[in-house]
Amino acid sequence: MSMAAPLTYTLEKRDNDNFTLNLGPQHPGTHGVLRVVLQMDGEYILHADPVLGYGHRMQEKIAENMTYLQCLPYVCRMDYLGAMSYNLAWVCAVERLCGFEVPERAEHIRVIATELNRMASHLLWWGAYLLDLGAFTPFLQAFTDREQILDILEYLTGSRLTYCYFRFGGLPDEVDDVFLERTMSFVNGFRKRLKNYHDLVTGNVIFHHRSKDVGVILPFDAAAYGLTGPILRGSGFAYDVRKQEPYAAYERFDFIVPTETSGDCLARYNVRMEEFVQSMNIIEQAVNTIPEGPVRSKVPKTIKPPRGEVAMAVETPRGELVIYIVSDGSKKPYRVKFRVPSFANLSVFARLARGQLLADALAILGSLDMVIPEVDR
């Protein structure tokens, strides 16, 4: 009966009614190569066991064998939906390690690009979560808007998903006004579109039945499992790295950290929907107050940080990413550690899924907004 030998099952009840259901690694509900071995009693889940590592690429080891610049395109492969945050985290970590200055204009562009990317990531989550709930249309509606963001970012960076855009000390090139205009016209259009989203989904009775009081994460659990991002904020903590330890130009902008107290799927949904608005506010402020000037400070051609270590925390769309670098003074990092949000966020799934219906478990998994390569890294 047991399909995965190394796993140990703790079953309350072991009789012939129970069966093992192998959810994934290829399953439409897991959004990637995540495998969950479920012990089921009919439609109820007795025990869930996530099996990780199908996409393990030894990112940390790879980083040790590369120069700091060579590693830049690699970090964004972990979270391909929030790649800009990874870019930002890596360049900020190295800048902090070396003590580089970044011009103000570059900081603004960094914030705009990262927030656009956050919106694109949340849009994909919005569509995929509703796809998990069985609604197909929101998925494609979200893609229509996400496409515009990708077009804008393609215009800015040259790539659509796995960006390698920021450079140590600023940006690779001057940014023209077309980018800013397109960004503003998108933001203005999206405010109306967001209302459509609420009309289509947020007020829907079926949606409420499916997400209210489902997958409740108590504040104590949220803290104990090390959850971050919208999931933590859905459980009542107003923790956002952009506020707690501001980086780039975030401290210059006025935005709030949306929180909900109920900790269920609906709370996480509402938090992310409100984050759209906050991201748009940040983008508007950043565009309106963008200063003229250079976009890149003078940095040496070869990056050779002094001996030492640095930890850089960044709020990705999924939560807190910490990049920890130990430098031995050479061109390559001595040790790199990525503390990724999805990995910690996934850890709570087994607890949430216990005793739930299969349909609810997949809704919960959808509300956690997993990116599996980030979990496996």
């Binding site: 609604a135 229509t144 039945h209 299969l358 349909a359």
Partner: protein, 316 residues
């Protein structure tokens, strides 16, 4: 009217054409409706506006191999799609699409259709059991769990209409609405009936037995080629029958001004089918237990009450 073998032959040829054509049109329509609701065009390449896309897909499906899983119960596995499809050919017999367009005027035609409609669930259960796949089995068992929850309210809806018309014959029921369609007298019942046929045809927001984000493809996970397409034919034909019943029971069947009867029939029943498609591409899916409690705790008491009140009003 007695049925001779010649009658039967003509009827079977006609009904095969109808079932096939209906499926071709509905699959195309479904993809077009979905496309336009999602800001895209849907199929455009094969034929004008992709009209022939379904034919191309059909040819592809027919030419594909029907794989039988290793540990599957082979006879049941192969029988399931046939069990789903065959009852349709009989169920369409007493269906009047016009005053003179009817294969078999049967005084208990409505009962026959209801009874045969149940066989679809049997096909789904056989597929779920025969596939030897846990997802398929879950899909099959869901279909059985939901059947009682919607069939009884559905029957109570139909019983109320039968009581109003005083006949089990679909023709008589349609003719009884010459003065006013029953939807005007029973708007609530019409809404419940539409909900119930959404359940009966396994369509979103009640597509539990094939819920793709939960059960991969549910009961037809293991089906390929012709087995898969037979299930599709059956699904779209049941949509046709359920919508035709709705148009006859509530919207006066073929009756309408100016246009000939069959045209009115088709307009009404395809309007209802469009409504079902609209549901599918707008709503998220309910959870199976929520649907069961909805069926037992809301639909059943409301229809029962409606039935009693109608009986009381008619007796006065």
């Amino acid at each position: 009217m007695s049925i001779t073998p010649l009658h039967l032959l003509i009827y079977l040829a006609g009904i095969s054409a109808l079932v096939g054509l209906n499926a071709v049109i509905l699959v195309w329509l479904e993809r077009k409706v979905a496309g336009h609701m999602q800001f895209r065009y849907g199929p455009m390449e094969v034929g004008p506006h992709g009209l022939l896309q379904t034919l191309a897909d059909g040819i592809k499906l027919v030419s594909k191999q029907l794989l039988v899983p290793n540990q599957a119960d082979k006879p049941l596995f192969l029988m399931a799609p046939i069990v789903s499809l065959v009852p349709i050919f009989v169920a369409m017999m007493p269906l009047p699409l016009g005053e003179t367009v009817q294969a078999w005027e049967l005084n208990i035609g409505l009962l026959l259709i209801i009874a045969l409609g149940l066989l679809n669930t049997l096909g789904i259960l056989l597929a779920g059991w025969g596939s030897n796949n846990k997802y398929a089995l879950l899909g099959g068992s869901r279909a059985v769990a939901q059947i009682l929850a919607y069939k009884i309210p559905l029957l109570l809806c139909i019983l109320t209409i039968i009581m109003m018309a005083g006949s089990f014959s679909l023709r008589d029921i349609a003719l009884a609405q010459e003065d006013g369609w029953y939807v005007l007298y029973q708007p609530l019942l019409f809404i419940i009936y539409i909900v119930a046929i959404t359940l009966e045809t396994n369509r979103s927001p009640f597509d539990f037995s094939e819920a793709e984000s939960e059960l991969v493809a549910g009961f037809h996970t293991e089906y390929s080629g012709m087995g898969f397409s037979l299930f599709f034919l059956a699904e779209y034909s049941y949509m046709f029958i359920a919508s035709a019943l709705a148009s006859i029971l509530f919207l006066g069947g073929w009756q309408g001004p100016l246009l000939p009867g069959p045209v009115w029939s088709l307009i009404k029943l395809y309007a209802i089918i469009f409504l079902l498609m609209w549901f599918r591409w707008t709503f998220p899916r309910l959870r199976i237990d929520q649907m069961l409690s909805f069926g037992w705790k809301i639909l059943l008491p409301v229809t029962l009450l409606n039935f009693l009140v109608t009986a009381g009003v008619l007796a006065l």
